[in-house]
């Protein structure tokens, strides 16, 4: 390289050693490569392989709804006035005529009724937000149940988790902006929650609201947080998340030809450009159609916010529903000590339980990694049944989440199922402890049952439905041996041996007591992978014995 440059520098006109570009496009590409080095970048990425499975596209739904939210959000900022200055409504919506309201509310009503297409964009923005968080949730569950969070992807799991939490909060801030009766009630709730913070609550409240509730600052401040601060952080995390997905290469299901050392699928160019690019349009199109069909957050019907007014069915958007549930089922504990009050009825659910529910799932990969002590990279996904305790824990977590979500809508459960709101609440108070335990047990047994069935299928083949009569008169069903690709798929997973403590006494008879951490680890490991937590998978010897012995029966 250096020799070429030295020779050309001597010549009159500098020449490139590169072949002459075939056309204008190549010329443009060469120009760009000379400045950005795109060829080396594209070399590894243009034909990057992605495996095909519907569950691998859940993350794409998140990405695309996020893009849709940004596009529509930018449009909305062109018309929305984040101000709490009072105006008297004089627009085309008759039931609000002459009513004093904030500019934020009035401009949102105007977006809905005066700006052509404004209502559609508002609804796309909001529907996309609901689907965004829902898709992140399902995406995270997919990663959880397939063990895709294992090394080397733990950090990306944390990035994803942060995106989920930020998405939830950004949704909450966005829901608060129009200053309608529902969102104002939500902000009032937030004020009460902030006040319940021990020690600093009143200071945080005054600083956040610029004085007493509601003041004139909260909507503009939330606006900045909603459109700039949180989306900015999310964008950064999102890019990092995607870079890591590219860098790690996608996980894949076990199957013929698929190993820990490869990834089997179709290339980015052209198949995934078409499929993933097309999927963006499919997602956007579907959400636009939903926004034509179903109304969301009809703020004109809620009316402007006034702290002395309220409507029943005061709930947050669904993703905050489980925290609403925690608040609703909490008993009214309040402690007074030395002239101070601790509002445990709010502080415990919001400052202890709410983060606990989220962090418990976020921390799981690290806990599992510690228990297994597994330091290897994993690129082949687990079938959920092959990790019964993990699957059962995940199911229990989901059930807890759902129970709390139901508690967040306890009034609607009461009216629509003709129940008493008090009984619903009592049920959830007990249910949040009992239901996850039941779900854990049922799921684990279910997984073990499926493992047994797999084993049965591997050893005895598939039921053909053909009945054969044996010479001595017995009827048997003919079982067909599975093809090798299926045998491989059903036995490809490895089964983890529980972690054993070193012997209590070493070879010299000196007692070497393991420390508490190791003993806990050993106990957990037995619970995860010991007897009763997995069915030993069939061995080739077992298979030989059965297939060569008395044949199919």
């Amino acid at each position: 390289m250096s020799s070429t440059s030295s020779t050309t520098s001597g010549a009159a006109k500098p020449a490139s050693t590169r072949a002459k570009p075939a056309n204008k496009w190549e010329q443009a590409a060469d120009w760009t490569d000379g400045r950005l080095g795109i060829y080396s970048l594209a070399k590894t990425n243009l034909r990057k392989i992605f495996p095909d499975h519907w569950s691998f596209m859940l993350g794409e739904i998140c990405l695309y709804t996020f893009i849709i939210i940004i596009l529509t959000g930018v449009y909305l900022t062109l018309f929305f006035k984040p101000s709490m200055g009072e105006v008297v409504y004089n627009g085309s919506y008759i039931p609000l005529k002459g009513i004093p309201m904030s500019e934020a509310y009035a401009s949102t009503v105007d977006i809905s009724f005066e700006v052509r297409g404004g209502l559609l964009v508002r609804q796309i923005h909001h529907w996309a937000a609901l689907v965004f968080v829902a898709a992140m949730f399902v995406h995270m569950m997919r990663v959880f149940f397939t063990g895709a969070f294992r090394k080397p992807r733990e950090i990306n799991w944390v990035f994803g988790f942060l995106l989920l939490v930020l998405g939830m909060f950004d949704g909450f801030f966005g829901y608060s902006l129009p200053d309608d009766l529902l969102s104002g009630t939500g902000i009032r709730f937030m004020e009460g929650a902030v006040l319940a913070t021990p020690l600093i609550g009143t200071y945080v409240q005054m600083f956040l609201f610029g004085g007493e509730f509601p003041g004139h600052d909260i909507v503009p401040r939330f606006f900045t947080i909603h459109v700039l601060l949180i989306p900015g952080i999310m964008l950064g995390l999102l890019v990092a998340h995607l870079i890591l997905v590219f860098y790690h290469k996608h996980t894949q299901w076990a199957g013929p030809g698929k190993t820990e050392k490869n990834v089997v699928g179709m290339p980015l160019m052209p198949v995934y450009m078409a499929k993933a690019g097309g999927f963006f349009f499919l997602v956007f199109g579907l959400i636009a159609a939903i926004s034509a069909i179903a109304s969301i957050n009809p703020i004109w019907a809620y009316g402007p916010y006034r702290p002395d007014q309220v409507s029943t069915d005061a709930q947050p958007d669904w993703y905050m529903g489980f925290s609403e549930g925690l608040i609703r089922i909490m008993p009214g504990w309040e402690v007074s000590l030395w002239g101070h009050t601790l509002n445990l009825g709010v502080a415990i659910p919001l400052m202890v339980l709410f983060p606990m529910v989220l962090v418990s799932i976020a921390a799981y990969p690290f806990i599992e990694g510690w228990i297994t002590g597994d330091k290897r990279e994993h690129h082949i996904l687990d079938r959920p049944r092959n990790a019964p305790v993990r699957t059962a824990l995940g199911a229990a977590w989901i059930s807890l989440y759902l129970v709390l979500l139901a508690a967040g809508g306890n009034d609607l459960f009461a009216t629509h199922l003709h129940l008493s709101i008090n009984s619903v609440t009592y049920f959830v108070r007990v249910g949040m402890f009992v239901v996850p335990v039941i779900v854990f047990i049922v799921t684990k047994r279910w997984c073990l049952g499926l493992q047994r069935r797999d084993k049965e299928k591997v050893l005895h083949g598939r039921e053909t439905g053909v009945i054969k009569r044996l010479p001595h008169g017995e009827f048997v069903e003919v079982h067909a041996q599975l093809p090798q690709k299926d045998l491989h798929k059903l036995t490809a997973h490895e089964q983890i041996e529980p972690f054993e403590l070193p012997a209590e006494t070493d070879e010299n008879g000196v007692a070497s007591k393991a420390n508490v951490l190791d003993r806990t680890r050993a106990k957990l490991s037995r619970g995860f992978y010991g007897e009763g937590s997995q069915i030993p998978k069939p061995t080739s010897e077992e298979h030989h014995e059965i297939t060569s012995g008395h044949g199919h029966h």
Binding site: E86, A196, M206, P214, A288, A292, N343, G345, E377, H543
Partner: protein
Amino acid sequence: MSHDMSEEKLPESHGSAGHHEVAAHGDPFADPGLPAHEPRRTDIDERAAKRAERQVSLMFVVSMLATIGFIASYVAIDPDKIVYIWPLGHVSALNFALGMTLGLALFLIGAGAVHWARTLMSDHEIPAERHPIEADDEVRADVIEQFRTGAAESGFGRRKMIRNTLIGSMALVPLSGVVLLRDLGPLPEDKLEHTGWEEATDAKPLQLINMNTNQPMKAEDIITGSLTFAMPEGLSTHDEDFQQRIAKDALMLVRIAPENIKDDKSKEKGFEGILAYSKICTHVGCPISLYEQQTHHALCPCHQSTFDLADGARVIFGPAGHPLPQLKITTDEKGFLVAHGDFDEPVGPSYWERAR
């Protein structure tokens, strides 16, 4: 579901190797390797490929038409026009037309692209090699060596004074940012401890103003079983600080037959069975006002805290931690309901500095 035999045997006919042979000899569970590629109809039948091509183009064409429809709807449809569309009901014609055309235009681009990829682009599955994320030992040693060299050259570890003062200055500098936040709001002081009713004194009591009529009320206006909301005299919905004031001053007036009032202190604060409670829930501050006139229970619509208004607004259910504050009321010489002072405890949700 009964599979027919020929279909079941299908994979064998073009598999890389006979499975049963492998199973008989080696490990039956061994990875048989990637299955051979099977062609799609469009790969072998030019007519099918042409058909797929036409389908894809058709989708793109319809998408174009939908975009034209979108623009036409935007121009032609009056934003106030309401149409009946089954089963949606009476909806905005513009919203429906725009949403449907935009949805169609976008969806068909996507559907066309995916159909194209699925039928006409190669569906050969290709394995790509993975490389371990971890660097090998040589690289690792090299990097650590480089770092050590750099660290040694900086003298960061050796010149402790520089290190410590740098850490000190870095730790202090963010404080400027924290200090800058001071003017976000005022200090709480005792702002949460009193309400607009504090202006009421024995010398100059404040009338209770009916939220509906904006007029003062007489005791006989409040009948047993009724529910009325009130604010202090002098407050108007058009005041600059109306929202802050009403967030604390709002009252809920009920009248309960005196013999049904269980709490004597509460009865005393009332006037002939008229009780004036704060409308602001002591849990997180929703305006609580779901009053059941037969049970005298008031329920909060946000988190279902239930207060017994006949028993000093004791909490009988839900997450609220203490009773609703009650305002002592009486009547003035003209017979209008008035208050002579503030609540004797802070209204709304409790907080750290709250004394009780």
